[in-house]
């Protein structure tokens, strides 16, 4: 008994000593992102590599379902409870910076000139004053997905290169049943999916316009270019009848089910499509305008250091940030998630740029624009209603476009004033 007591005392002392020694050296930082299986897997790999290189730092990852993510982050960080390094959608950054919940990245480790030379230009939206607030590991852009089986069946030899070809191709792919109802659409439609980006940053620019002015604070698409873009977009559904809103519930579902010839979507869809058995699909660059103008929309998630990280946790967080924005981390992210590296040096490697799936997306990054949203879902709703009014209330292109521009401007004014 006495011996047991002694042994226990010894063990406890040893454990305490080890714990004390451990806590003196090891720093644990917390990392948050939303749950999407490939993203979580990629981050696990990155954390493992990082911890191997930095044995005194451990990174604890926490993830939430996407639906709760924004609210949870917004509730936790102001309360000082949340992560040290957090993943945020680029459009949310403003609110966090204004509330001083994100710390700027130190200029000695992340020199702005270097970032501007190395990263794709759209990342400059993350700069406040002369410092960067956050940086992405990966970026995403849009491309045209097409169903190879349907193309073969219709005798079409390749994806459309121009907007006019897109209409002709879609007509050939469209199928109707005996009652005249669409059974296969030429191209999917729906401003609720990625089409509002296609309209904003691609179509309007291709018809000669510039969708916004004053750093995205002023709507500028109620113009001839905007009208031409909306006419082109809405004609697909109302004049050429090669598509229908709500067909198969949502655009990506129609494409997955092999009921849509073409579908415009982001690079984040690649993983989901790879899992669909029996679907033979390809990817092409978004069609060019008649004069050859290309455009694309790019969005990204950034990592930033929260105000919670201080002292040694801050230093550890900076090291971690440096690693997750390295070329190596970007390649891991591309291979696991399918999202494109945020630096041309990592993206434009021979293998990536000529990759049959990633290639078109990476080419798109070269000329992509990033919309700065004040309220993405509200601004999207304005465009959804724009097409909805034309569909359900027979409103004219001009009238509906003017109303949508007014509604979106009101959202921007409310936010910035």
């Amino acid at each position: 008994m006495k011996q047991l007591k002694k042994w226990m005392l010894g063990a406890t002392t040893a454990a305490c000593a080890m714990y004390a020694a451990g806590s003196a050296q090891a720093v644990e930082i917390e990392y948050w992102q939303y749950f999407f299986e490939p993203r979580v897997k990629a981050m696990e790999t990155l954390i493992e590599n990082f911890e191997k290189a930095n044995p005194d730092i451990t990174v604890k990852m926490t993830h939430f379902p996407y639906a709760d993510y924004r609210t949870k982050v917004a509730a936790a960080i102001p309360a000082g409870q949340g992560p040290d390094v957090v993943q945020l959608f680029y459009g949310w950054l403003n609110d966090y910076v204004n509330a001083q919940l994100i710390q700027p990245l130190p200029n000695d480790v992340f020199p702005p000139a270097e970032i501007e030379a190395e990263f794709f230009p759209m990342v400059q939206a993350m700069k406040r004053g002369d410092q960067y607030m956050a940086l992405p590991t990966a970026v995403r852009s849009l491309a045209l997905f097409y169903n190879k089986r349907l193309f073969d069946k219709a005798g079409i030899d390749g994806p459309p290169k121009t907007l006019d070809e897109l209409v002709e191709t879609a007509k050939k792919l469209t199928q109707k049943d005996g009652a005249g109802n669409l059974s296969t659409v030429g191209i999917t439609t729906g401003m609720n999916a990625q089409d509002h980006h296609w309209f904003r940053e691609v179509l309007i620019r291709q018809f000669g316009g510039d969708p916004y002015m004053d750093n995205y604070k002023k709507v500028n698409y109620n113009t001839d270019a905007g009208k031409a873009a909306l006419k082109y977009y809405s004609d697909l559904e109302f004049t050429h009848k090669v598509t229908a809103a709500g067909f198969m519930d949502e655009p990506q579902a129609a494409f997955k089910a092999g009921r849509a010839g073409m579908h415009i979507d982001g690079s984040f869809r690649i993983g989901a499509l790879n899992k669909v058995r029996g679907l033979k699909w390809g990817v092409a660059e978004l069609p060019a305008a008649a004069d050859g103008t290309h455009s694309n929309y790019s969005s990204y998630w950034v990592n930033g250091i929260t105000s919670k990280a201080t002292d040694e946790k801050y230093d550890a967080a900076v090291k971690f940030m440096k690693y997750v924005t390295s070329d190596e981390a970007m390649q891991v992210w591309l291979n696991t998630v399918g999202e494109l590296p945020a630096k041309p040096s990592a993206a434009m490697t021979e293998a990536n740029a000529n990759h049959e799936v990633y290639g078109p997306f990476i080419k798109g990054l070269g000329y992509a624009k990033t919309t700065i949203f004040a309220n993405e879902s509200g601004q999207r709703q304005a465009l959804m209603d724009m097409v909805g009014r034309m569909r359900l209330q027979d409103q004219s292109v001009d009238g509906s476009l003017a109303q949508a521009a007014g509604e979106e401007q009101k959202i921007l004014d409310d936010y910035y004033n």
């Binding site: 924004r70 609210t71 917004a74 509730a75 960080i77 102001p78 609110d95 966090y96 204004n98 509330a99 919940l101 049943d177 009652a179 109802n181 669409l182 059974s183 729906g190 609720n192 229908a244 809103a245 709500g246 067909f247 198969m248 519930d249 949502e250 009921r259 309220n375 879902s377 509200g378 709703q381 959804m384 209603d385 909805g388 009014r389 569909r391 359900l392 209330q393």
Partner: protein
């Protein structure tokens, strides 16, 4: 302890009563009254969940009452109530009235009516959403198309969308209402019916003079209960219109969905709180009015 010992038995009983009552009171204060008061306070402030809360006076209410979307949504909310409550009550009463007289497989049929009430509203909303799809996946439209009848744009129309969403909501609540009605019917003493039969009263008069008046407490309960339910409708609308929340063109958006959207998509917490205060007031007024109108004279 000394003080407690000196108390009389009745005083001790009072101490115990308050001690036990304190648990639910504290619970209610913390999870109900405090958040309610805080929401009312928040409705006079501006807050994006991240920064500080700033006083804005009546700005949120001024904005709300001059917002055409709010009036559209306000109208929708009452449309759910006006269409939903009478039709669900009538349906439930007819079913309960006949089911009460039925002996064959009574328990099984009653269970079948109750089953939807036990099902998750979310799962049900999604199944109905798929029922309503256009050709080639919607079961209703596929059936219509087989007979060469033009499709009905259930959820893609400003006219049909609201009733289409209301239908599964009514169906889901039916089981509960049927059970309550049957309990009410069983509680009416058989002697009244025997007397009526001896006096040779017609079936219609028995219904209007005996059954319905004696069911009044049941009806009052169900009217208030289902009215609150329809005024707060959310699950069905949210899940059946995720592609265009409350759409098309806001034709199905109820107040609760607008609140959700303002709070968790626009992160305009003060404005959302103002909407919540309006909903709270509406619920209170409607419930008090109904209780007053339907009170026994």
């Amino acid at each position: 302890m000394g003080i407690y010992k000196r108390l009389s038995i009745s005083q001790k009983q009072i101490v115990w009563a308050w001690g036990l009552l304190a648990i639910p009171i504290v619970f209610y204060v913390v999870v109900r009254f405090y958040p309610t008061a805080n929401a009312i306070l928040l409705s006079f402030q501006e807050w994006n969940l991240l920064g500080s809360r700033n006083w804005t006076g009546f700005d949120n209410y001024v904005k709300l009452f001059s917002d055409p979307t709010f009036w559209k949504v306000f109208g929708n909310t009452f449309l759910y109530l006006i269409l939903g409550t009478p039709s669900s009550l009538l349906l439930a009463f007819v079913i309960a009235f006949h089911l009460d007289k039925l002996r064959f497989m009574h328990g099984t049929i009653r269970a079948l009516y109750f089953l939807p009430f036990m099902t998750s509203a979310v799962a049900m909303a999604w199944v109905w959403r798929w029922f309503y799809q256009p050709v080639p996946i919607g079961v209703f439209n596929n059936t219509l198309a087989t007979f060469g009848i033009p499709q009905i744009p259930f959820l893609n129309s400003t006219t049909f969308a609201l009733p289409s969403i209301l239908a599964p909501a009514i169906w889901a609540g039916l089981g509960f209402q049927v059970i309550i009605f049957m309990a009410g019917l069983r509680a009416i003493p058989q002697t009244y019916y025997e007397a009526a039969r001896i006096d040779g009263i017609s079936a219609w008069e028995t219904l209007t003079e005996i059954t319905i008046p004696l069911l009044k407490p049941t009806i009052v309960f169900l009217v208030v209960f289902s009215s609150i339910g329809f005024l707060r409708i959310f699950d069905q609308v949210f899940n059946m219109t995720t592609n265009d929340p409350g759409g098309p063109l806001n034709s199905t958006k109820p107040l609760v969905l607008m609140i959700y959207d303002t709070a968790f998509n626009s992160f305009d917490m003060g404005y959302a709180a103002a909407q919540t205060v309006v909903l709270f007031t509406v619920l209170l007024v409607v419930s008090l009015l109904q209780l007053r109108v339907m009170r026994d004279k």
